[in-house]
């Protein structure tokens, strides 16, 4: 009996990788099929005014369409973020400008990009669905890319001096330096920011898949448009179906993509000693066991890397002898700079032309609406802080509580607030509250998690010696908060508040203006202004309100958050 059992377990060991390979193969085939299907739709003729089905049976296909859109947007974001971050980090001349541009772009809400992107894409591909699809992808891209670019830039800047010197002394070519130093060092930041970005993508998915632009009504089949249609029609059953499908997809992606990515990124942690509690992922463990994948890597990636590195080494050796080609480089830089300047100049002229048609009253109303939204953002942040600070500190101090609360909070945070919004609105209407309060609630739903997670991280990072000091000297509860806890979590709190504030501003465009039960619900605010201007195709107002919002967000960042940040870094930084 025992021998038989043993033999069976060995057989299991043997067949296991084979099964694994078969699974990997099937997954690859499935992805290929999906790409073909999506490609068929995208390259097909324009389906004007497509009806979005509200039947649950349409959901799997819609989910696929949405995931593909987000994946394409994500790949674009990654490429752009790495290129932009790389140039900004290594070109001292353009660095300041590039960072300022990034700062401004980050503060512009998705919908403000919409008309320009959509009209351009539809003009490029007038007969194919591709134009609209690309437009939607670019919209998702604009919601994902900026923080990734910032992250890559910051990682490049933070590479320890001696590591960089080692790569210089040992004469790494640019490719080897990129593959063995820069990319690995930036990986953890990129992975975490990718998660934040994709979460942001889900948040704006409804806005990116279904919108009205003047007289044209764009509807792309997908999860976002499904939810939007369900909400517009007030179909509660469909809302719940769509919501569950979205949550299922998000959980699936978390298990199949993000957990493995985090566990894999662990190897890129810049630490001297191995940490005891390294994140794990069952998917990654399985993938690592697959002989097919490792063979594939051996046969494709390794030789490619060798070939490219050897080429770059030879090129480097040649260049070391004669530093030629610098004239060509200068010319290229001048051309690019001139093109950028011309484009910017034309943009300014066009914008000025647009703005001339706006009356003084409209300007005043825009400024007032900005004030209203500003207040809502403040209230949302205040409410979020009031509950998340004590909760976060409690969770951070108690490992037992953290084990239960953290996964729950993560699931809650991963559900995009916009998807919940129809449900919330239904409840609000039943209670009798308006969108004024409702929009604050939506901002809160979308942004409180940033503060909560940062506070937890901060509370965990307070050294236990501090608690012991407080214990020994019998600090009162108030003293404990004033001298240990608040200063301890301060830098983390600020990080959370900055992210939350940016998120709240962005959320205002979907929170203050909503198509619901066949009507438009809206409240007075800058977000509503932008959304309605998009809907009605009023480009002048859209431009004006976008400029006001970008100016406000950037000024708040510069005048409020940056000084606080500096204070946190100098005065409240815990150094070992």
């Amino acid at each position: 009996m025992r021998i038989q059992g043993l033999a069976r377990s060995i057989a299991g060991e043997r067949t296991w990788p084979w099964l694994l390979d078969a699974t990997v193969f099937l997954v690859v085939m499935a992805v290929a099929c999906a790409v073909l299907m999506v490609g068929h739709v995208w390259l097909g003729p324009v389906t004007s005014h497509a009806e979005i089905s509200r039947s649950p049976s349409a959901l799997p296909l819609y989910a696929l369409y949405s995931v593909v859109r987000m994946a394409v947007a994500y790949v674009l974001s990654m490429v752009f973020a790495i290129t932009y971050g790389y140039i900004a980090a290594y070109n001292r001349r353009v660095q300041a400008i590039m960072l300022a541009v990034l700062d401004i772009l980050q503060s512009i809400p998705v919908l403000s990009f919409l008309p320009g992107v959509m009209l351009a894409m539809v003009a490029l591909f007038p007969t194919r669905q591709l134009g609209v699809e690309i437009g939607s992808v670019i919209l998702i891209f604009t919601g994902q890319v900026w923080n990734m670019a910032f992250s890559f830039y910051a990682s490049l800047k933070a590479i320890p001096r001696e590591l960089r010197e080692a790569s210089t002394v040992y004469r790494f070519g640019w490719l080897q330096r990129f593959l063995q130093l820069e990319l690995p060092y930036a990986t953890i930041g990129l992975v975490w920011n990718s998660m934040v970005s994709v979460a942001g993508g889900w948040f704006f998915l409804m806005a990116c898949e279904m919108f009205v632009l003047g007289k044209r009504d764009f509807r792309l089949p997908g999860l976002g448009s499904y939810l939007q249609s369900a909400a517009s029609a007030g179909d509660t059953r469909a809302i719940l179906w769509g919501l569950s499908a979205m949550i299922a997809v998000i959980i699936l992606l978390d298990q199949l993509v993000w957990r493995p990515a985090i566990a894999w990124a662990e190897k890129f942690k810049f630490e001297q000693v191995e940490s005891t509690a390294a994140p794990e992922s069952w998917v990654l463990n399985l993938l690592r066991k697959s002989p097919l994948l490792s063979r594939l890597q051996e046969k494709t990636m390794t030789p490619l890397d060798e070939y490219l590195c050897a080429r770059s080494a030879r090129a480097e050796a040649r260049e070391g002898d004669a530093r030629a080609g610098s004239v060509g480089k200068v010319v290229a830089v001048v051309i690019v700079a001139a093109a950028c300047a011309t484009a910017a100049g034309l943009g300014v002229v066009a914008a000025f032309h647009q703005l001339q048609g706006i009356s003084g009253a409209a300007v005043l109303s825009t400024v007032q609406s900005a004030g209203a939204t500003f207040l809502r953002v403040l209230v949302a942040l205040a409410i979020a802080s009031i509950w998340t600070i004590p909760a976060g500190v409690a969770i951070g101090f108690s490992p037992r509580l953290a084990r239960i609360a953290q996964p729950l909070a993560q699931i809650a945070a991963s559900v995009p607030a916009t998807a919940l919004f129809p449900v919330v609105l239904l409840a609000l209407i039943r209670i009798g509250g308006g969108l004024n309060a409702g929009s604050i609630l939506l901002m809160l739903l979308g942004t409180q998690w940033y503060i909560l997670f940062n506070v937890i991280a901060g509370a965990t990072a307070i050294p236990s010696e501090f608690h012991e000091v407080a214990e020994i000297f019998r600090f009162s509860r108030l003293d404990r908060w004033r001298t240990v806890i608040l200063p301890g979590i301060f830098p983390y709190l600020i990080t959370g508040l900055v992210t939350a504030s940016g998120g709240a501003w962005n959320a205002s465009i979907v929170a203050e203006y909503f198509h619901f039960q066949g009507k438009v619900l809206s409240t007075f605010g800058l977000g509503a202004e932008i959304s309605s201007a998009t809907d009605s195709g009023n480009f002048a107002v859209l431009l004006l309100s976008t400029i006001v919002m970008a100016t406000l967000v950037v000024s708040v960042n510069r005048l409020l958050w940056r000084p606080l940040y500096r204070l946190a870094e100098t005065r409240y930084k815990l150094e070992s």
């Binding site: 320890p160 590591l163 080692a166 040992y170 690995p184 190897k267 810049f270 630490e271 080494a313």
Partner: protein
Amino acid sequence: MAEPLIEARGVEKFYGQPGGNRVQVIAPLNLSVYPGEILALLGPSGSGKSTLLRILTGLARASAGEVLWHGQPVSGPVKNVSIVFQSFALFPWLTVLENVEAPLKAVGLDPAQRAKRATQMLDTVGLDGFESAYPKELSGGMKQRVGFARALVVEPEILFMDEPFSALDVLTAENLRNELLDLWEDQKMPTRTIFIVTHNIDEAVLLADRVVVLGKNPARIRTDFHVDLPRPRDHKSPRFTELVDYIYTVLTQPDAHPEVPAATPAKPRYPMLPHARPGGIAGLLEILADHNGREDVHKLADLLSFDVDDLLPIVEAAAMLGFAKVVEGDAEMTPEGRAFLDADILRKKELFRQAALERVPLLKQILTSLEAKGDRTLPDEFFEDLLDEHFSEDETKLQLETAVNWGRYAELFDHDARGERFFIPEETAAGSPV
């Protein structure tokens, strides 16, 4: 002296400040690094040692002055140097082997060659078996071994080290230092020049052939001297302590300019006896007489079909006794040597005795000790104890053996091999010339 490998000429570093003021970090200084030496650059923390290292390697630019590499001005990272970093600077996402292979990959070596050379170098630094480990799995000392392997695998012309041991605990650092010296002494290291930056005085005196001490605010060279201690060096030897004290004084008293202490007891109390027999010395003198009293040592060896290494002790012995001297590679007979050669056997013994007592401290010491004893005899152990702080155990035996040979010929004392004792025979004791 040989051509310098790297030469800093009037190199200085300063930072401009708003208002036209400038902060001088390094005052203009000249420094040359020669092939074959271990140079230690010492200085208080913040004195600009590491900056100077980075200027010499081309990683950083000097504000003024120039750096020459084999006589050519440097305008970028210098080829063919390595740096061992204080923080190890290993890539945590690469395995130990990949870390060591990385510089070879940069020069476009193919994978098989790379793996072979990297593995060999890991063996040399004592890390075989750790190829597939990640740096974070290793202790600090082992990480720095990887750092050494990575630095040495490119066979650099100069190995630069920036405080390579200061991130390690005391014992690990000591251990690694000694292993480094062993590699250096055994010539297992594919580099013949080391430039080490340190703030540890002991470390500098232990390792370096040459010590350069930097002063602070701005950095300038306070002293630059050769360490004349033979290896292996003993932390507790008086000369070691003397040099450490000297450097300590230079470092702690910015305004003092003490002299490098002269190597006072340059001769040990017992200069080593060359292992030659008196008969051999007499033979050498005879041959020299046949060549008009002077001949090239190598030619002599040829004439006698001797190995030079076998002839040299005889020449040295003759020189020690004052019967010959070595001039420009020639052995030349002295008047004392001529007198010794011309004398009859009894006179020969007398001349030898006089020369030995006058010029060979060990023989005199043995005689004095024996005479101080009532029974005029002492065990071997007594003299072994006397010598073993100067010589190794084997050498002590050889020294005593030679002393016995010479002492017998001079009829100063005799030795009882079975009883392992030295003694003065009755008849010579009476006629002792002392």
